[in-house]
Symmetry: C2
Subunit: 449 residues, 2 copies
Amino acid sequence: MKFGFVNGQNMALLTDMYELTMAQSYFNAGMNDIAVFDFFARRTKNRSYLLSAGLEQVLYYLQNIRFCDEHIAYLKESGRFSDDFLSYLKKFRFSGDLYAVDEGEILFENEPFITVEAPLIEAQIVETFIINTMQLSILVATKAMRCRSVAQDTALVDFGLRRAHGTDAGMKAARCAYIGGFAGTSNVLAAKTFDIPAFGTMAHSFILAHESEEKAFSHFLKTYPENSILLVDTFDTINGVRHAVEAVKRAGLRNFRGIRLDSGDIETLAKKSRQILDSAGFEKAMIFVSGGLNEYKIKELMQKRAPIDGWGVGTELVVSADTPYLDCAYKLVEYRGRPKMKLSPEKVTLPSRKQIFRKYENGIIAEDKIALIDEKIDGSPLMKRYIHRGRIVMDPPSLEAIRKKAQESFDSLPPKVREIEKSRMPAPDLGPGLSRIMKKLQADIEKSL
Amino acid sequence: MKFGFVNGQNMALLTDMYELTMAQSYFNAGMNDIAVFDFFARRTKNRSYLLSAGLEQVLYYLQNIRFCDEHIAYLKESGRFSDDFLSYLKKFRFSGDLYAVDEGEILFENEPFITVEAPLIEAQIVETFIINTMQLSILVATKAMRCRSVAQDTALVDFGLRRAHGTDAGMKAARCAYIGGFAGTSNVLAAKTFDIPAFGTMAHSFILAHESEEKAFSHFLKTYPENSILLVDTFDTINGVRHAVEAVKRAGLRNFRGIRLDSGDIETLAKKSRQILDSAGFEKAMIFVSGGLNEYKIKELMQKRAPIDGWGVGTELVVSADTPYLDCAYKLVEYRGRPKMKLSPEKVTLPSRKQIFRKYENGIIAEDKIALIDEKIDGSPLMKRYIHRGRIVMDPPSLEAIRKKAQESFDSLPPKVREIEKSRMPAPDLGPGLSRIMKKLQADIEKSL
């Protein structure tokens, strides 16, 4: 397992203060029976489906979370915590169970990605990290899959590290883009950490550092004769393509890997570039495009039959620009065996331990049902136990396997749901047992008000 | 200096592959003379000013960047790099100069936050990390300042860790929110790392874990009699406020810290809650609000005179939701003493080593001029040398000093520019020397095409 920057030792304090103040209050009252929390997303603007990702980092975190002496000393200094509670924290381990859908599975509105079943204090303290990790991973994996779904047989590469929100986001985005079907990343550390292909050639600064574009190209081809993608838009794109062709010929090379367009009217420039490359005998030279791309622009250019072979997608992928956050939550649904439900306006939760049952027809998803864990429902259960009594009991699949699963999940979507234009995110049915519990709970709560 | 997760040792490979492929090409040709790169932002939708932040992390990175054996082994395995070049990387240090505006300074369109003057290869390799760190920091600091600017004398707290894009973003966001005028953060590790106040009380799960809201409140007050902010909207907000008041009275407490509203029609609920609290004799009890807040909602509620004392701003702050990325760049502007300029459509850069000169009238910014470093221009120069020959030569100010400077910078803005509704981001004038160079360069380039 490869975990990037996640470090169990240091991450324990990466939590919200209220998790710890609540924990102390529970501790004082001896309230530490088994609680069940769900992590799920509500309906999301601009998304018809959500691709699960981030679980591996959560598994590692839960198995390794420790409060070290330095953490304890800091909390003691704050004056808010008793010695008894701090002694408890010092021995803190996650001892519960974690149920989750596999990474690479596609989910819809209100379907839990993760269910934590653990002593209340443990389940509470891990909330912040779980949301922090899962939200970003789902956002980027989903955005990547949307790009993949319109790019037909062309290649996609993650160019987003520089515009990702910090270092950890750059790492997670590279991993999740790969899950969503990208061919690799420009991020060297992510390529190393996750063992995925690294891509990269030259920037405008390389051209500018030389006395002329021609000299820059010739020089680059000397270092990478077989593997140069020459960036042609620094001054004038069409001239740039001609300079690139001349440089390749001058170097006596038979193969020309290709060019990159990073600005301007891409459709026109790609078509003209293709002509120039072809008439120079470089039919196999790739046209690679970058610069402010997203799934909508890729789709448009594909529809216009722009002769593009590959795409570098950066900013809009890694910040999920049209939907930079999910309406997601980690909610208590059961404590001491009693179902729990919140009634705040527009924030109703589904109580009790649940399972998602999925029915297929001819390989296409026909119906999802969210039901109580012990309801007898037709369909394949999607949630599996990954952690039991604090130990990982099912090794997460390899990144390659997750990526393959993501493509299979996508292929099982009804055609309408695959579209990047907002069809409506399907709202799964609820099992009859779950519906009954919800009605009863709602009535009980309203009676008590 | 406190740096959060930034780790010089591990961050060297956190770069784009093309930085390394270009570097090897430069290395092979012996092209490693002094280059000058600027980091700046172009005009930004929804922002009238940008608050500088993130410099401290960049300083630490530049002083500590090293390629360790594991990095070198990975690059060697990739087959793209020669032993000579890898030997160079093994000894790689940043040996150049860094000029920057102070954190907490406000800048406008095209004004460089950072100028790197270093041997070409060094200046190139550090590009990705600089953009990654600066963009997020500027985004969050600016968003925080916008919230601060409409919140009058009420308190603002960063609640964003869970929705930040990964762990590093959660840390940087807490720091930058503090720079922008927030009182503190819910993020415990950030509070510890940056020595800023930590805030937090209770979540809905705390209420739900108990048999009733009343019992939950009573129980919490037992642990924190003087310091409880009770969350009142789990079932019915007004009932929740009444339960909170009863619980405080039942506990025999004289002081009541306050309540938190997290959903519903906040204006109406805050006004009703205030009445209930006041008539119970708790005139000093705070009303704290959270849930989907941003600067626009805070401004509206302040204008409606909703009796709110504090705000927990989360998601929209830490992902800078209305502007989740900046049109920013790190561009070569000079090499071997020769000015450099790119002509790609809408992406023109300002060539040469520059300085920003700012003129004030009665404490208010009257004019900014971007000029060549050696032009004689009226006004205070904003860029200072922080690193000389690879060593930090000016210690970055304390976080408190940066925060104070940010408020002073904001107070020096013309009133129109302070507004959160988009006034136009001022475009600074260019010095006459810089203008001349640009005209000449443009002519030269066009002639050569």
